[in-house]
């Protein structure tokens, strides 16, 4: 899905994606999600709305959760990018295990964005209360689970299993 290079003009970007150095010449208008999916084949990042509302494409750039559809790849030049394929640190593993244990996904399409959003929120000290977790997740649509299981999974990870 590469945009027309002549119309857009190309730029060189370098970044670390899931710990691997990446160096590519791409049209300047390529957004980060399209770059990861199209150029790097990292199709774990999903596009649900392409206008920043659904949260499915959320991924980590320098530790912050960002919308992959709203950020140009060139804006991530020099950054460390982590996609769902690279969530292998202890927190990422804990989240994955909790999602399985709590049945926090069904079709799986929104899940990568949920993981990235929670990873940032937990890193920033998300408190183990349901309302706080729901607020943290409120930028990500899930059409399958009704959210309760995702909230439970997050609470499992941050130690608030019994929170109401």
């Amino acid at each position: 899905m590469t945009p027309d290079p002549e119309a857009a003009g190309t730029v060189r970007v370098q970044m670390a994606v899931n710990g691997r150095p990446v160096n590519a010449e791409i049209p300047a208008c390529t957004n980060l999600a399209d770059f990861l999916r199209g150029e790097l084949g990292l199709t774990g990042t999903h596009l649900g709305c392409e206008h920043g509302v659904c949260g499915a494409c959320t991924l980590m750039v320098d530790g912050a959760a960002v919308r992959g559809c709203l950020m140009l790849a060139v804006q991530a030049d020099g950054a460390e990018v982590t996609t769902v394929e690279g969530l292998d640190d202890p927190l990422g593993r804990a989240l994955r295990e909790a999602f399985v244990a709590r049945n926090a996904l069904q079709c799986g399409f929104c899940t990568p964005g949920m993981l990235a959003t929670l990873r940032e929120a937990i890193g920033a000290g998300l408190v183990p209360e349901r309302a706080a977790v729901r607020a943290a997740l409120s930028g990500n649509f899930c059409r399958c689970t009704g959210y309760e299981a995702i909230v439970d999974a997050a609470l499992d990870v941050i130690g608030g299993r019994d929170a109401r």
Binding site: R37, T43, C49, T83, E85, Q106, G108, F109, S138, G146
Partner: protein
Amino acid sequence: MPKDHDGIGASTKRREDVRFLSGAGRYTDDINLRGQAYAYFLRSSVAHGNLTSIDTAEAEAMPGVVRIFTAKDFEGVGGLPCGWQVTDRFGQPMKEPGHPVLATGKVRHVGDPIAVVVAESLAEAKDAAEAIMVDIDELPAVIDMKAAVAGGAPLVHDDVENNLCYDWGFVEENREAVDAAIRGAHHVTTLELVNNRLVANPMEPRVAVGDYDRTTGEHTLYTTSQNPHVIRLLMGAFVLGIPEHKLRVVAPDVGGGFGTKIFHYAEEAFCTFAAKAVNRPVKWTCDRSEAFITDCHGRDHVTKIELALDAEGKFLALRTDTLANMGAYLSTFAPSVPTWLHGTLMAGNYTTPLVYVNVKAVFTNTVPVDAYRGAGRPEATFQLERVIDKAARELGIDPIELRRRNFIKPEQFPYQTPVAVVYDTGNYHATMDKLVEIADVAGFPARRAASEAKGKLRGLGIAHYIEACGIAPSQLVGQLGARAGLYESATVRVNATGSISVYTGSHSHGQGHETTFPQVVAEMLGIDATQVDIVHGDTSKIPMGMGTYGSRSIAVGGTAMVKATEKIIAKAKKIAAHLMEAAETDVELAGGQFSVKGTDKSIAWGDVCLAAYVPHNYPLESIEPGLEETAFYDPSNFTYPSGGYACEVEVDPDTGKVEILAFSAADDFGNVINPMIVSGQVHGGIAQGIGQALLEQAVYDENGQLLTGSYMDYAMPRADDVPMYAVDHSCVTPCTHNPLGVKGCGEAGAIGSPPAVVNAVVDALAARGVTHIDMPLTPARVWAAMNAAG
């Protein structure tokens, strides 16, 4: 040895999660074929008009353009077929106007495709589409259903008088008796209501990738579908004229469906057609704005319902009058939704002896409307459970008590309803009792008082639903107008060392079949579930199957798998009997071991499988080698899940904002294979039902522009909009006509919840004179209702 916790009834964790949690899922948009070109659809920006010219000359010269297609490229190609023909109350077939792949002569809704650019890149395709010159003589649009059928309205299809697709009556023979019963009744409760138009919005937008192999003449379509064989049949036989052995349809991981991915869409036919025409793969990926104006919408009924009761509150007769929106064209199963999936459920859980349902299906200049989670059954339940609540209030009878007085009693099953269907089992008193318990109905007055003390209005809403799932007995639906069989298939292939691949016609797009189906086979054979894998979604691999919708997977697809596994067991017992030199009738299978009754002789499952494929010591004179069986299962009846739902809300009297404080669901799904997955299905259904009740509505302006065409305008539930759910499925009356005793659970939540929510809000506002508010119950509507009534 088998692990007990892997079998039927275990909350086995989902095996599909591993790939979805590591980014290794393979959704259709993840598929990129060597040399693929990109399709971009130029769509009508007006709702209604005559297409006078399309000039592609300038666009064709644009960079990267491979080819531009218009309707003239599809002359001789069939239109998109409709899979269900409804007969009207006068015995005439419905009006069935054509649905071309690309708009021909006229455009009929915003989003109707006019031309398609296939180019080297999507950006180039979009640029070229902007250079296509289209002249449309705009016509007045017809949007409002009442106006559309009132006479003198503009015609969506020139040959469909009054935009009326059909005028359906059911049960037509009861019409006069129902009228008479209502005329003579002690009390009649009347309610006019809207079942709001919704957009299903699975998080994965639709995608189609067409491929063609010139050397074999074989077409392949990768598509976001709930039923690849249905697409192969409809597209191959009716649209493109491709024989099935030259057409493979693959629906890989699919990111949610909720009905809207059942249907055969123009983009699928286009990509398949174009791949051959341009001799390279052609890919189309829908963006969300495009999804809003091309995915079939759901619901959109306007109904007047009348319920006649005697002095004791017994239901005497029910009459409904409904306008159902079909949109601009008939989508695949659209005509069946407001008729056979709706009228047959109007008895609900009750003994109402006389029912008459009238439905007029209407063409408008809007996106086609078809099945969305529940499809017809939510519309039936909403009317019924709202009018019962209103009747209870009018008669001063507790709404739970009024329902109980009219419930079909447990000893009355099987129960012949006055609307054709026969309920096999159920115990509505039990689910209502369970609901009263888990929702703590007894504690409600105290909770209401506490809310009032802080200035909030509290309400409790009850609903009790029934649905017909396990779709469907083929001969019955054939008589009702279905142009498809609705059986399901499974092949169970036992490998030489005893592991098993099950090829199922059911399709999983979030339901967890890869986990639950092996649980069933493992239970039957007494082996570990990890020894069983599921293959689905590829017509080149699986037997012809009808896919997943209507909560049919476990009841129909699961039963096909059980039947195939029974054949496997029967054959394996013969082999085991030979190996153990015993009579076949003495051989038993338990815990993955065949044994001879009354002896200590036994042989392991794997050894019998090996003998089937290495038949050295084997009764070749009487049985074939190998261990692979296929079954097709056609159900003898629908299944009838039922349940009680309760919603408790607080309304802010200053703003009209509704907050859901508690939501409870007591469902009877028959036997449950995996309680964890069933709970997840109910949660998700309830969230969608709450979305319908409080947030969601597709809104068109009078010119046919969709005002809610993005996630900025169409409000779906977010994590902080929904409550915790108390769900229970311990009330079990097993289905009597399938071997697992299962009923299906996929749609229940979306069916039972909207009336529970609306009943709760009306309960909160009843003291202020509010008797009804149409969904969605936005703060503005609630505030207006409160203040208008007060």
